[in-house]
């Protein structure tokens, strides 16, 4: 092969490689984006059923409930305007508490119940994940509006 041909071959290979990588990344990204929804958006029907997503809000006081003799747990997540029931079969994080913010990852069922595969809470007394912070702030703003 002459130097020129080889250079063309190299460039062609590089273009193909970059193209393949870009395609791979796009496909992988598109199929693995998890959107974040609030209970209000879920009630309004904005959240697609059956897709992996995250929801967030405050764990409603007194809603945490577990049947005797079972690991499965159920609680209500609220943003004060709407509520979503979350079911989870597993161990809740150490800092999960009623009246505190949480984010759950999982899938929404047709009946409007959210089946969580993973539940997150804040993991430090001082630190709150941004999604939870935003949601909690929205909740407080809503409360203040009501009070006025």
């Amino acid at each position: 092969m002459k130097a020129r041909q080889r250079r063309i071959l190299f460039v062609a290979l590089a273009v193909i490689a970059v193209g393949l990588a870009a395609a791979l990344i796009t496909v992988a990204l598109r199929s693995n984006l998890n959107y974040f929804y609030t209970p209000t958006q879920i009630i309004a029907g904005e959240a697609p059923v059956g897709e992996l997503m995250r929801i967030g809000g405050m764990v409603e006081k007194g809603s945490l409930n577990r049947k005797d003799g079972e690991l499965a747990v159920q609680f209500t997540v609220t943003d004060t305007k709407a509520q979503t029931i979350v079911r989870y079969n597993g161990i809740l994080p150490d800092l999960f508490k009623e009246g505190q913010g949480t984010v759950a990852k999982g899938r929404l069922q047709k009946d409007g119940i959210f089946l969580a595969e993973e539940v997150l809470a804040k993991h430090d007394e001082k630190y709150i994940p941004p999604e939870i912070a935003d949601t909690m702030k929205a909740i407080q703003d809503a409360k203040q509006e009501k009070a006025q």
Binding site: I91, D94, E125
Partner: protein
């Protein structure tokens, strides 16, 4: 008084850094030997002042000086001494001071061990290190002074319980050594661009430094993964968490840089590319710092954070990237090389290595920053799940590993297929046999993916091994670089084996247990024997007892704990782990269920998980072997001798 000395010392260090950053650089431009000669004393002085400052902070922690705000926020009089010291870098202010200390130490090391580097080059390198120090010292002094005073408090608010752990005491310093170590490669690159001279000697000077930085980063990442595994409580070893990614990014680019430096040294090629990689490695280290410190991303590492500080680092990052890329665009034309190589050659293999590693970096970077971008553009709050990263990294790693085997045996410039075939069929057969037989011995079932993973790992290990054997040299006469390359690549094979097997054969169950409940995982029977309350130095704990038997024979009794730390009143899960070379048994207490003494319990069987970190240790040792290759030192000595003789010649 002591904290004031620390603060004052830090200001003096800033002044020194300023002198270091400006005068030697100016001296090098004007060829003024007096100004250039300032570089070394300024480096030493800067190090001494930073060290004094750091020592003062340690002193404040050890003596429980609760008039210092930072001590109050991160320490407590009941904290064990080890953690009082590690609490120094347990939060933002102190960890930045540690960062500066490490930066100064790297600069000191260059000043001490680079006698072979010409004065002009050396003063430029040290000057760049000085400029970086100026940025960080300014950052500490302006936004994050750890010596700020408040009225005396009775006691401190204690260190976050998650950080009260030996692994985490040494994880940040290691990681920082790596992060900051790439500032050396960066400084070398900038100095080369300014002088416009980038030759084999330059590559030889920067190679050992890059290797050492890479070793620290490798060990730092492995320590972080190990810590997350046993301390974060739930037995995962990698989460594709933004901050984990932030440490992986410079590692990937750093690995590419190490390999492209080989080509730059041996063949005088890939020069511009090497410079770009050096810039990227350090910039990504800065980006990592920004992500950790700003708290813009949801992460297990994002402890209390402050957006204003993030902004400062962001501006610094933009300055560093902007100025170095501007310099690069001005000098890139000078960095071209005339050497040629055939399609089938070691150059091509190393080029592929670089391309794949850079694509990996880009993919991880995109996945990490995508939530930020989409939030900023108001597309919505999005997170990118771990499957994204796996989908991209796994196929790319497979290609990388295949090329790796070829890389060992390929010759520089050009090679022939027939010669390669002769060298590679044996390792291929060995790898095929190993990948077929191994799963039959230990795995519960045959699995296509595990076969693939093992084949890849064995391919790397055997090509590396056969490559060394075929050199037919006595192991004592073999160069450090050869030893290093072999060990590091075998280490990679070990890590790949661990990742493959633990990903495929891992068993994880959340179950509800009462006293006496048994649960079987593979051949192991886990029996829960109830919970008792125990008292620790600064916490109270529920301690579970889980007996594990295999065919009626006792294997071990694990005691997982649920701790409540008194000061921060924060619950913490302390897992019970029975570690082994071929498998870990892992038990973690969840929460009490109802009032009949029932608990939720997580049981895990983790085959070969230790191999992930064992491989990292091999990689680290390999990197050290390569960094301390006699070749680099011999060259230095010879050069020194020749300068001495010419000097003598001049005198007579």
């Amino acid at each position: 008084m002591i904290p004031e000395i620390g603060h004052f010392s830090l200001i003096l260090a800033f002044v020194m850094a300023l002198i270091l950053g400006v005068l030697p650089m100016y001296g090098a431009a004007r060829n003024n030997a007096n100004y250039m000669a300032l570089a070394k004393p300024a480096v030493v002085a800067q190090w001494i002042f930073v060290a004094i400052s750091f020592a003062c902070l340690v002193y404040a922690f050890v003596t429980n000086d609760f008039s210092v705000k930072y001590v109050v926020l991160t320490s407590n009089s009941a904290l064990p001494l080890v953690y009082k010291v590690s609490a120094v870098w347990g939060a933002h202010e102190g960890s930045l001071l540690l960062w500066v200390l490490i930066l100064s130490t790297w600069a000191l090391a260059i000043a001490m061990f680079s006698r072979s580097i010409p004065a002009v080059m050396l003063s430029r390198i040290l000057s760049v290190m000085g400029l970086i120090a100026v940025g960080f010292l300014l950052f500490v002094l302006m936004t994050s002074n750890p010596f700020d005073r408040i009225p005396m408090q009775a006691d401190g608010r204690d260190l976050n319980p998650l950080l009260q752990d030996f692994g985490l005491a040494i994880h940040p310093p290691m990681l920082y050594m790596g992060y900051v170590g790439f500032s050396v490669a960066f400084a070398f690159a900038v100095a080369a661009m300014i002088s416009g001279k980038l030759d084999a000697a330059w590559a030889r000077w920067s190679r050992p430094w890059t290797n050492i930085a890479w070793v620290f980063l490798t060990i730092g990442i492995a320590l972080g993964s190990w810590w997350a595994y046993y301390e974060l409580g739930w037995g995962g070893w990698w989460f594709w968490d933004p901050v984990e990614n932030a440490s992986l990014l410079p590692w990937l680019v750093g690995t590419a840089l190490m390999h492209s430096l080989i080509v730059t040294e041996k063949r005088g090629m890939f020069k511009a590319w090497t410079i770009l990689l050096a810039i990227s490695a350090f910039s990504l280290s800065l980006l990592g710092t920004f992500l950790v410190r700003s708290g813009v991303l949801t992460s297990v590492h994002a402890f209390a954070s402050d957006p204003e500080r993030g902004l400062f680092i962001l501006i610094f990052l933009i300055l560093v990237v902007g100025s170095s890329l501007t310099l690069f665009s001005m000098r890139a034309a000078k960095l071209s090389s005339t050497a040629k190589f055939e399609t089938l050659s070691k150059e091509t293999a190393l080029l592929s290595n670089n391309i794949i590693l850079v694509v990996m970096t880009a993919a991880v970077l995109l996945g990490t920053l995508f939530p930020l971008i989409s939030d900023a553009l108001a597309i919505g709050k999005i997170s990118v799940g771990p499957p994204y990263f796996n989908m991209i990294m796994v196929p790319l790693a497979v290609v990388l590993v295949i090329v790796m085997g070829f890389g060992f045996v390929l010759r520089w410039k050009s090679d022939r297929w027939s010669r390669l075939q002769g060298k590679l069929w044996l390792p291929l057969i060995f790898a095929l046999v190993a990948a077929t037989i191994l799963p039959l011995i230990y795995a519960p079932s045959f699995d296509g993916l595990s076969f693939m993973g093992l084949l890849m790992a064995a391919w790397v290990a055997f090509t590396a091994l056969m490559w060394v054997l075929r050199l037919k040299r006595s192991p004592f006469k073999m160069s450090g670089t050869t030893w290093g390359a072999m060990l590091a690549h075998i280490g990679l094979a070990i890590t790949f084996t661990g990742i493959t097997l633990v990903s495929i054969y891992n068993v994880e169950e959340d179950i509800r247990v009462e006293k006496g409940t048994s649960y079987k995982v593979n051949e192991y029977l886990f029996t829960f024997e109830g919970v008792t309350e125990v008292e620790g130095p600064n916490y109270t704990a529920y301690q579970g007892k889980v007996k594990i038997t295999e065919n009626g024979k006792l294997v071990t009794v694990l005691q997982p704990e649920k701790r409540i730390y008194r000061v921060q009143t924060m619950p913490m899960t302390e897992a019970g782990i029975d570690a082994g070379i071929f498998r870990d048994l892992f038990v973690a207490l969840g929460e009490p269920l109802g009032d009949k003494g029932a608990w939720s319990l997580r049981i895990q069987y983790k085959p070969f998980i230790r191999w992930i970190w064992l491989g990292a240790i091999f990689m680290g040792i390999g990197g050290l072997f390569a960094a301390f290759d006699r070749r680099y030192r011999r060259l230095n000595r010879r050069k020194r001798k020749s300068t001495v003789t010419t000097m003598k010649g001049v005198q007579t």
